[in-house]
């Protein structure tokens, strides 16, 4: 029965997407109606796909993304570019909610306990991925990236460094989504969250340095870069300051008003997004700080997390469906083999970096036998927004090789979007940290 209803809905929406102006007053109204119906269909479709995926032991996030891919511009075409642009505010609000959750999951006590491991894994992962990227590009650069211009050794090294930084980036959004879905708690969860969030900041810093270096050596253009970062210290300090202020304001609201928390969170998200647009600061970092302040410097953390859990599911579906719809399928098919190989090299670098990091800190071997041993690296596979943003910046700044680098990054991110959540879910289940090991029963 459920299948029949879903099939009927599919036909209904498909007809609507094909004949939007039949009974509407204007093209604008047709656009609105199609957008509403498409959004509704994606939420329902994503939900059903998520349940089906959970039923076969895969993360729901992957189901949402594949729904987005299915209805995206390269297949069914319900989610077109116009609709994607109109949903930009939803995407940004989702990012804030994800970052708030990420910040709320970072507990000062856990951070102190694992500080050595976190820093060692963070540094070693980035370093080893950078080394592997540079080596691969020097040995077989032409196979991964078709350079049109003639580049010397120094220039290739710089490109490799920039590509390496982008390659090592993780995805806090996917990590948060999988952790929330699995209701995971424990050492592996803490380590993955902490390193992923810290790496987000670390990678932005390295990327800014890399870009400065590249501009010095290769020139390039900075015109047309819409979201150029302010000077690095200002970026970090400004984001921290706004995050702390907003965090305390939120604490005061939760403590003294404490009503309609969901509305307050949404309003705060909208205000924060506008503020970040004006100041060009880092949205993710700011929102993470807000969540961190609420969790660690007040007793309102559980209220925040509960409210976030209530409002975030529909927004998550739209966010990840949009991410799926953004996967450039023809491009992925065109450079598929190179992208798969690069994603493999990235996974190798992450595994090596994690293992070396744990070995240096002695964390993994402190308790024997550790249920998380050999699994933590899987949590660092997901990759999404940050890498895509940086790739776009490279393409705009360095037309030519920048476009080719972006192409490779887009394809690699597409692979990691699908593979990453699956790997992380497996790690959480295997380590016993997932409360929702079989969420078919929910």
């Amino acid at each position: 029965m459920k299948r029949v209803i879903v099939a009927m809905l599919l036909v209904l929406v498909w007809l609507m997407s094909r004949l939007p102006v039949i009974r509407t007053e204007s093209l604008e109204a047709a656009g609105d109606s199609s957008a509403l119906a498409a959004l509704g269909f994606v939420i329902l479709g994503g939900y059903i796909a998520g349940r089906c995926f959970a039923g076969i032991g895969l993360p729901q996030v992957t189901g949402y993304m594949l729904t987005g891919l299915l209805v995206g511009p390269y297949l069914v075409g319900i989610f077109d570019q116009v609709l994607t642009n109109r949903l930009k505010p939803v995407e940004e609000i989702a990012l804030v909610l994800i970052a708030l959750t990420a910040g709320g999951e970072l507990r000062l006590g856990d951070l102190r306990l694992h500080l050595k491991a976190i820093s060692a894994v963070l540094v070693m992962q980035t370093l080893i991925v950078l080394v592997i990227s540079t080596a691969a590009l020097l040995l077989a650069g032409g196979w991964f990236i078709r350079f049109s211009e003639c580049l010397d050794f120094r220039q290739i090294v710089i490109i490799a460094l920039i590509l390496g930084v982008m390659t090592s980036a993780n995805s806090p959004s996917v990590a948060v989504a999988v952790i929330t879905e699995m209701k995971a708690r424990g050492r592996l969860t803490n380590l993955v969250m902490s390193v992923t969030v810290a790496k987000d900041v670390f990678v932005i810093i390295l990327f800014t340095l890399g870009m400065t270096l590249a501009h010095g050596v290769m020139g390039g253009t900075v015109t047309g870069v819409d979201h150029a970062y302010p000077p690095l210290p200002l970026l970090v300090a400004g984001s921290l300051l706004i995050g702390i202020l907003a965090g305390w304001l939120m604490v005061l609201y939760l403590k003294y008003i404490g009503r309609q928390v969901e509305i307050a969170i949404l309003v705060m998200s909208v205000v924060l997004i506008q503020l970040i647009h004006i100041t060009s600061l880092e949205l993710l970092l700011t929102a993470i700080v807000i969540g961190f302040i609420i969790e660690n410097y007040s007793s309102q953390g559980p209220t925040l997390i509960k409210s976030l859990e209530r409002i975030s599911p529909p927004i998550y579906i739209i966010f990840f469906a949009l991410a799926g719809a953004g996967v450039n399928l023809p491009l992925l098919l065109e450079i598929g083999l190179a992208a798969v190989l690069w994603a493999g090299l990235r996974a190798l670098g992450i595994w090596l970096g994690t293992s070396v990091g744990f070995w240096i800190s002695g964390e993994e071997f402190r308790q024997k036998p550790s249920p998380t041993r050999g699994l933590t690296w899987l949590g660092y596979l997901p990759q999404a927004g940050v890498a895509l943003g940086m790739a776009s910046l490279v393409a705009v700044s360095f037309p030519g090789w920048g476009d080719n680098v972006r192409t490779l990054v887009l394809a690699v991110v597409a692979i990691n979007q699908v593979v990453g959540p699956v790997g992380f879910r497996y790690a959480l289940v295997k380590s016993g940290e997932a409360e929702n090991q079989d969420n078919r029963s929910n």
Binding site: M1, K2, I5, V6, M8, L9, L12, V13, M16, P20, I22, R23, T24, E25, A29, A30, D32, S33, S34, A35, L36, A37, A38, L39, G40, F41, V42, I43, L44, Y47, I48, P89, I257, R259, Q260, E262, I263, A264, L266, V267, V270, V271, Q274, H277, E309, R310, I311, S312, P313, P314, I317, N442
Partner: protein, 390 residues
């Protein structure tokens, strides 16, 4: 400053102001049911305080469709036949009597007034008058709800009145849907097609929601399914030119009568409606033209007519109801219109080329709400409190 930011800040200010200055608990004797947001919308759209871009409110219209769908669903899930069949037959008769009397009286007075005001007695007035009548036949259960829940006046009379205030929306909604199908342009065959399309969509969505939510407990998952369904219904209804309230109302009725009963659905729906409802009221306020004095005069006349019709209905039913305090004065408790009334007329106002006088209907209805809503609880308390004391 970004308009979205302005709206976000204003919603916060209006919410906090409404909660802490006037308070839903009637700190100064007023119980605001959202009038503050209607006024905020009117002030914003007038451009006197802030100059917002012209298309600012138009960009937010999809939210109106979503809210209309949500209201329909919220209303529909209350029609559970397993509960309704326990109601005394006299309540059903009273519901029909009260609604039909109101519809007849408001239609007649409305037609006379509009003919004089607009110097037009053509058949263009018929849909307008009937929309007004359908809107006037609805009563706000919110007022009686406040009396019961917040003021703790829990007599059999209040309980009975609450059920009647919920039930008596049904005839008005039926008339509203019929008007939409009949007067939305095209011939009878188009109206029939619209009716079939709308009904099928409502039934399918209702079945889908029921099958997806069966056995689910988490509020987040329930919200996902509800939001997805309402968006889909709103899009389909908008595209087909049918009222979204009708589509989701049907879905709600299907859900309410499914087996096993989805018990936690109503609280989830009601709880999540708040932000949408606030936005909806702001947009309704933005559509409202408070400078239309004709609308104000007509609103006052129609309030009086509406009250008289309800008073008469209660008086007529007096010999049949064996409850102390039953009588015409109970009409005071049900005189305040609610959000559903505004939702209904906004639905027409969204299609101005099909319903040319929809703006006038909207102005009249919003005036009535602005006048009566803050007084609604006070009036109801006057009627219901002495009975409790005696």
């Amino acid at each position: 400053m970004n308009p979205l930011l302005i709206l976000a800040l204003l919603v916060t200010c209006a919410y906090l102001g409404g909660t802490y200055l006037f308070s839903r608990r009637g700190r100064f004797g007023f119980y605001t049911g959202g009038v503050e947001f209607l006024l905020l919308g009117a002030i914003l759209s007038s451009g006197t305080v802030l100059h917002l871009p012209k298309d600012f409110f138009q960009d937010l219209f999809p939210f109106v469709h979503i809210e209309l769908g949500w209201i329909g669903l919220l209303f529909g899930v209350q029609f559970d036949r397993r509960i309704l069949r326990h109601l005394p037959a006299i309540d059903w008769w009273l519901m029909w009597l009260k609604s039909l009397l109101t519809i007849a009286a408001v239609s007649l007075v409305g037609w006379l007034c509009l003919s004089v005001c607009l110097k037009d007695s053509s058949e263009n007035l018929i849909p307008v008058v009937l929309i007004l009548a359908a809107a006037a036949s609805l009563s706000s259960s919110w007022t009686v709800g406040i009396i019961y829940n917040l003021l703790k006046i829990r007599t059999p009379l209040v309980r009975r009145l609450f059920f009647i205030s919920v039930l008596d929306d049904a005839p008005g909604l039926m008339l509203f849907s019929a008007l939409f199908f009949l007067f939305a342009g095209g011939g009878v065959s188009d109206a029939v097609l619209r009716f079939i399309g709308g009904s099928l969509t409502g039934l399918i969505l209702g079945s889908l929601i029921t099958s997806l939510l069966r056995g689910r407990k988490e509020r987040g998952q329930t919200l996902v399914v509800l939001i997805g369904s309402v968006l889909l219904a709103a899009g389909v209804a908008y595209a087909l030119g049918i009222p979204v309230i009708y589509v989701t109302l049907l879905s709600g009725i299907v859900i309410a009568n499914s087996k096993p009963r989805l018990r936690d659905l109503y609280p989830t729906l009601a709880g999540a409606e708040h932000p949408l409802y606030l936005l909806f009221l702001i947009l309704a306020g933005a559509l409202w033209d408070p400078s239309n004095i004709t609308a104000l005069i007509l609103a006052l006349i129609l309030i009086a007519t509406r009250f008289a019709a309800k008073w008469w209905a209660f008086e007529l039913s007096k010999p049949l109801v064996d409850i102390q305090g039953w009588g015409g004065r109970l009409a005071l408790a049900l005189v305040s219109p609610g959000g559903l009334t505004v939702a209904m007329v906004v639905n027409f106002a969204l299609f101005p080329d099909r319903f040319p006088l929809a703006q006038l209907v909207l102005d009249i209805t919003v005036w009535a709400l602005v006048i009566l809503n803050p007084l609604g609880v006070m009036l109801a308390k006057r009627v219901l409190a002495p009975v409790e004391q005696s």
